[in-house]
């Protein structure tokens, strides 16, 4: 299986370890993983601000980079949501549609495509608060959101449960948005920061040592909030845990 690795801009710049873990994890499952070197971004920042026309060139570049792979995999729920559900600034040629449909977030890929049933290399003996980002929860449908009356399921929890030693805590508001929201985080910074404070406090109250998420953008925001108000909690991407990060 030939996989194109999409490493979103902020992960490339600030969280290379998340990209490395994703790459190594896919390689552990025996995949041939390529990283197209001209990649930048999926266009989401402009699109979410309403400037759809301004993402046309970025979307075209994305398609040029990722056309022809069996799967495109990224460690970021919100970017995958953009590619799959909103990526319409450019003409929807068969090639564009193909790339969009083949783009997967790493948890989905491991759960639905790879059907991974063991991570024997991974141990994480810590109390973990799972943060399902809104993009993964309500758009990519990683898990059952609390608002709907449907049977419980959670793909990230299914995967993490296979990691030795992990223990989950129960925050009071498990799927409340953490307040990142892309450009929302700067255009409405007071509310955004307050939501982040509440989120990290909720997890800390529940006894979490780590907040684990499939969305690094949420973690970046939450980490900034936790450091600002002095909440002693650590942050780690789910790919790092599944890849055997020791902490």
């Amino acid at each position: 299986m030939r996989i194109g690795l999409f490493i979103p801009c902020y992960i490339d710049a600030f969280f290379p370890e998340v990209g490395i873990a994703t790459l190594e994890l896919l390689e552990r499952f025996g995949h041939e993983v390529e990283y197209p070197r001209d990649q930048t971004c999926c266009g989401q920042p402009m699109a979410n601000s309403g400037f759809n026309a301004d993402c046309a060139a970025t979307e075209s570049l994305f398609v040029r980079n990722f056309s022809g792979f069996d799967y495109v995999v990224a460690p970021s729920g919100s970017c995958v949501h953009h590619v799959r559900d909103n990526f319409d600034a450019i003409e929807q040629t068969p090639e564009v549609k193909e790339v969009r449909a083949r783009t997967y977030e790493i948890v989905e890929f491991l759960h639905d495509i790879e059907k991974a049933d063991a991570f024997p290399w991974a141990k994480f003996p810590h109390r973990v608060g799972l943060h399902n980002s809104c993009g993964t929860l309500r758009q990519l449908k990683h898990a059952a959101p609390s608002e709907l009356r449907e049977p419980f399921f959670s793909k990230p929890m299914d995967l993490l449960s296979k990691v030795e030693g992990i223990e989950f805590v129960k925050p009071a508001r498990p799927d409340e948005c953490c307040g990142f929201g892309g450009t929302f985080s700067v255009f409405e910074e007071a509310v955004s920061a307050k939501m982040g404070y509440d989120k990290v406090s909720d997890h800390a109250h529940a006894g979490a040592e780590y907040i684990v998420s499939a969305d690094t953008s949420c973690l970046m925001h939450q980490q900034g909030c936790a450091e600002r108000i002095g909440v002693p909690i650590k942050f780690i991407h789910i790919a790092q845990v599944l890849n055997g990060a020791s902490a």
Partner: protein, 511 residues
């Protein structure tokens, strides 16, 4: 948590609100258990600043709300409590999701055939002896109602809550023509006495602490300013308002459902105040948004099962009142109001917002609304539903509102009629950019971002520069007033190398 002294106040448990903890122990002596002495309660943060037609700055008003922590905390917790009660009710109904789909389908069907059902409703109402009026917009609504009141020589009007009449600026209009309006809903009465708009469609004064209410009542109905006991306040208001209700010349209600096949209207309240407004005076006027019509009486059951469960997490409102015709010696008038609804019905991406039954569930679940207060939106409708309705009234004035959202989607999931609220918020952002209703700086920034992100070489150079900047700039440069990220958060810690350069060094052959 080994050292509680290190904990930020945010982290101290709710059980410890009145105590000081040291080294994890609750202290029992007076210093620890007494409440802090304070000269006066935290003043109520006020809503958005309105400057004519200039865009409302919701973020500015929200920041002031957050700067009043007692208000923000109460508001967030109160509404979250409603959301949790809603969830419990939902779990009690196995067919909940089917019910939502059915309610949505009934509303969509009705909206598609709105003209037919409105005519049917009108004909049946007339045959029940009701006077039916049509109003194109807010001004016509107000004129029609004023005309009815003038015909009857009415000088005072008691009213139960109606968002439509808020839309119409009804209270100020009535004041200008010398007719006294008395709100009969407790929350709405508080807001009226405080000269504030309702901040929520169901619980209009939810942003107020009881100390705020005590202050309002002390000024307006003469209660003890230092007594904020809830029962005392409610009873005092009742004593003050009941005589006004009993001698009012006319009554007005809104309408939750207008049933086409019967020509009757259904009004849901918890205080029974719609019944007071409709039954005490001889003249009853109901203002009805044209989207409130539903085809059949049996459909009311579908909506009634959803409405209060979604709104307040109670199985049903205390009163579900059906009004079908005037009582003997009385008169009943229905005013059917468009006020922009027909135009909204013609908007491809936004017409389903007309399915809304005004339950407020989207507000209760919205993490931004709960931390901002409804008045921060500076519009009749606040919260998620407001973000998609308000711009249809005035795209310039409300051009910022669709950005007051993280697009988290919880609103769409709780909506009992399945409006895709967060997708419409996203669509409004696009629409406002198309209509050039977004700030120039944002436009420039997004254009620049689009250009940079589509040119790999330029992008690589910029990333390198950003890394260097973050690593070497002193903290005070990053955390100044201009840096919206750094105001409330620490910056991410720049790594030694980007993923890009790591990959080049470690997997150079695979890129």
């Amino acid at each position: 948590m080994s050292d509680p002294d290190m904990l930020h106040p945010e982290l101290r448990g709710p059980e410890n609100n009145d105590s000081i903890t040291r080294h994890g122990r609750r202290l029992d002596h007076a210093e620890a258990t007494s409440k802090p002495l304070r000269s006066r309660p935290e003043p109520q943060p006020r809503g958005a600043r309105i400057h004519g037609n200039r865009p409302i700055d919701q973020a500015e008003a929200a920041a002031r709300f957050i700067a009043a922590p007692e208000h923000e905390k109460m508001h967030d917790e109160r509404l979250w409590d409603l959301r949790q009660k809603r969830d419990r009710e939902m779990h009690g109904i196995p067919e909940w999701e089917d019910l939502r789909s059915l309610a949505s389908a009934i509303k969509e069907h009705t909206l598609v055939h709105l003209d037919d059902y409105l005519e049917q409703f009108e004909a049946n109402a007339r045959s029940n002896g009701v006077h039916v009026h049509w109003a194109r917009d807010a001004a016509e609504h107000n004129r029609v109602v004023h005309g009815i009141l003038k015909d009857h020589g009415a000088k005072s009007l008691i009213r139960s809550k109606s968002m439509l009449t808020e839309e119409c600026g009804f209270r100020p209009y009535m004041a200008s023509v010398g007719i006294e309006v008395i709100e009969t809903d407790l929350g709405e009465r508080i807001q009226q006495l405080d000269h504030e708009d309702p901040s929520h469609v169901v619980v209009p004064a939810v942003h107020k602490l009881r100390t705020d209410v005590a202050e309002v009542f002390a000024k307006t109905i003469g209660t003890d300013p230092n007594n904020s006991d809830v029962h005392y306040l409610a009873e005092s208001q009742r004593e003050a308002t009941r005589p006004l209700i009993l001698k009012a010349d006319a009554g007005m209600t809104g309408c939750n459902f207008a049933v086409a096949e019967t020509g009757g209207v259904v009004v849901c309240t918890n205080e029974g105040n719609a019944d007071l407004s409709a039954n005490v005076p001889k003249l009853h006027i109901a203002s009805i948004g044209i989207e409130k019509v539903i085809p059949r009486l049996e459909h009311v059951a579908v909506f009634v099962r959803l409405l209060s469960r979604s709104a307040l997490g109670s199985p049903i409102t205390q009163y579900t009142s059906h009004f079908r015709g005037p009582r003997e010696g009385g008169e009943m008038h229905f005013v059917l109001v468009d006020n922009g609804r027909s135009e909204r019905l013609g908007l491809d991406e936004f017409w389903t917002s007309l399915k809304c039954i005004r339950c407020g569930a989207c507000m209760n679940t919205c993490p931004v609304y709960r931390r901002s207060g409804g008045l921060s939106y500076g519009a009749t409708y606040s919260g998620p539903i407001g973000l998609i309705i308000d711009p249809t009234f005035n795209a310039r004035k409300y051009s910022n509102l669709p950005f007051s959202s993280t697009l988290n989607g919880s609103c769409s999931n709780v909506c009992p009629v399945k409006i895709n609220i967060h997708e419409q918020i996203y669509a409004w952002r696009r629409e406002l950019v198309k209509r050039h209703e977004t700030p120039f700086v944002k436009k420039v920034a997004m254009k620049a971002a689009g250009e940079l992100l589509s040119r790999p070489a330029a992008y690589r150079a910029a990333i390198a520069a950003a890394d260097i900047a973050l690593a070497h700039l002193p903290r005070f440069v990053l955390y100044n007033g201009l840096n919206a990220w750094g105001k409330g958060r620490e910056n991410p810690h720049p790594p030694k190398q980007t993923f890009h350069s790591w990959h080049h060094a470690n997997r150079g052959d695979k890129g």
